[in-house]
């Protein structure tokens, strides 16, 4: 991986004004937000958080039981978020975590009160607007006992060629019998450097579902979220759909640590390169029984590009059940012929198979986001075959 030189980015001086009404934003930005899962009308959302460059510009929720604020405000209000802040990610992990620890610009704090089932998703977006901006954010999400929440978070740049660095810490706390679905849509650009650092803990009976979609070129991205199942019956699932166009470099992975009995973990990634590089990592560790984990990485190389699948399984006690399935290759001729026998020509058949491969229906996303993803797939098809 190319070394990132943080001195090329400006980590001070990009304060933004509040945006009361998100619909007043420039059309081009609104469109990039939609592809990042954020609907500026706020329709069908329980709340909206938007940060541009170095500070939050919009934060509202009208849902009882959902608390959402700038992380800096939360740190003041809750006495440094003791017991939460920097407990899931080590501030000394690397230069990126250190940069955020030294100078945090913002990020969101979201907490759902005990037993509250939030129907509509909360949406958040971290936008880099000014060229050369380095953005340090720190997010903390707490889902209290028996509560449930879906967060859709988009990360994007104002224009596809905006130069920027995004360093983002996220820490998730899923309490007893609570559930969090975290859908992240990356919509970066050819000059974006991205270093998310994510950790979380799931207590007994809790469920963490992570959806990750990235289909646009990103210059250099590295992420490896880690979720620890700390209580009996906890479940974690990671589902990623990634496309690397020419010029993209994505080093991504997911890690599940099963530290309690009756836990389940699943990591599924589907990746396509049309010229970029994808490193698809996955790691499931089981330290208690019964524990079941399955890891699946499937990659298609369409034209040029590199896919490097690195699935890892670690069992430390007798009786764990861990499995993985990895494949990197091309579209199966057998599948193309099957569809051709139903009357589809070769291009139609290929495109149908690729769309199926990238199908995100299982993520249960809002219609507008789903449409935007389908549109992106259509656009990227011209690079595919």
């Amino acid at each position: 991986m190319p070394k990132v030189d943080l001195s090329q980015f400006e980590f001070t001086g990009h304060a933004s004004n509040l945006i009361e009404d998100l619909t007043t934003m420039p059309q081009a930005e609104k469109e990039r937000l939609i592809m990042s899962g954020v609907d500026v009308t706020g329709v069908g959302r329980s709340g909206t958080f938007l940060q541009t460059d170095h500070n939050a510009v919009h934060c509202e929720t009208h849902q009882p039981g959902v608390e959402m604020m700038d992380i800096k405000d939360a740190l003041k209000k809750y006495d440094g978020l003791d017991g939460y802040y920097w407990t899931q990610v080590d501030p000394d992990k690397d230069e990126f975590t250190r940069a955020v620890a030294e100078n945090v610009h913002g990020g969101y704090f979201i907490r759902v009160a005990e037993g509250v089932q939030v129907q509509d998703p909360v949406q958040s977006c971290l936008l880099i607007r000014a060229n050369d901006t380095g953005q340090n954010v720190h997010n903390v999400v707490i889902v209290e006992e028996g509560a449930s929440l879906h967060i859709i978070t988009g990360c994007t740049v104002a224009s596809h060629d905006t130069k920027g660095a995004h360093l983002g810490i996220s820490e998730f706390f899923i309490k007893k019998n609570a559930s969090l679905t975290f859908t992240m849509v990356h919509n970066w650009g050819e000059n974006s450097v991205v270093r998310p650092r994510t950790g979380g803990v799931v207590e007994a009976g809790g469920v963490f579902q992570n959806n990750y979609v990235s289909m646009k070129t990103v210059k250099d991205l590295q992420s490896y979220p880690t979720i620890r199942l700390a209580g009996a019956g906890g479940i974690a699932r990671f589902n990623s759909v990634l496309v690397a166009p020419p010029g993209a470099y994505l080093d991504t992975g997911s890690r599940i640590i099963m530290d309690a009995p009756d836990t389940r973990g699943e990591i599924i990634s589907r990746t396509i390169t049309t010229g970029g590089t994808i490193i698809a990592r996955g790691d499931i560790q089981a330290n208690y029984v019964p524990a079941r984990g399955h890891l699946e990485c499937k990659g298609l190389i369409l034209g040029k590009g590199v896919i490097h699948a690195i699935p890892e399984l670690r069992g430390t006690v007798e009786g764990v059940e861990l499995s993985h399935e990895a494949a990197v290759g091309k579209i199966a001729q057998e599948e193309i012929e099957y569809l051709m026998a139903r009357g589809l020509d070769e291009d139609e058949a290929t495109s149908t198979i690729v769309r199926g491969f990238l199908n995100v229906d299982i993520m249960g996303l809002p219609a507008r986001l789903n449409d935007a993803i389908q549109k992106t797939i259509e656009e990227s098809e011209k690079d595919m075959f």
Binding site: M340, T352, G356, D361
Partner: protein
Amino acid sequence: MLKIENLHVKIGQREVLTGIDLEINAGETYILFGPNGSGKTTLLMTLMGLGNYEVTGGKIWFKGHDITEMPTYERARLGVGMSFQRPPTIHGLSTKHLVRMAAQGRDFDVESMARKVNMESFLDRDVNAGFSGGEIKRSELLQLMAQHPNLLLFDEPESGVDLENMHLIGKTVRTLLEGEIAPRPDCSMREQKEMRSSSGLIITHTGYILDYINADRGQVLYDGHLCCEARPRDILEHIRAHGYQECVRCLN
């Protein structure tokens, strides 16, 4: 409908079909018997234009068109439809979507047709994902109902299928070949039967399918050659009684 002239087919270096001649008329169903490895599946795959089957000699005519070199999808659009014995799973593509595509823009009520083959609860599932033998057959039939082919190619309709499914599959194959025949004031059942235009080429080992369809002619494919043209039931009885050994003598 279909005319095969002196067809030679190679897989890799091996010549599997060594001069096949066969004609199937409109509305006629032809049954193909033969031991494993005799080239039956190769013949069907070649007619559909699939895979690594290289035609090294001869011609295939369908509805008056020379389809010997025609790509698979054009054959399908012209009216050749095949039920696959081991179709691939396609991730992320729902059965419903595939059935709709197979209809190629024709009016086709997917839900009610799916009910006829007991597939309504499979419509949202990925194509062939975790389907049992009987489910695969029913899914193939549903796709063919949507496709509405003039020539139906069916490789072993009874393989991997229990008795209950066999009944449903048998009836459905008959409908595909003969259409829905029922008493009607304007047209006698016999006239309806004469109007049918779909032809079939069916491979069978067990002959169970013969209980459901009206098969006119049959032949044995043995070692790349066709022999012993007769009524399918007679062939079946003969094979049951004497095995395929007699076919060798016939060929010599």
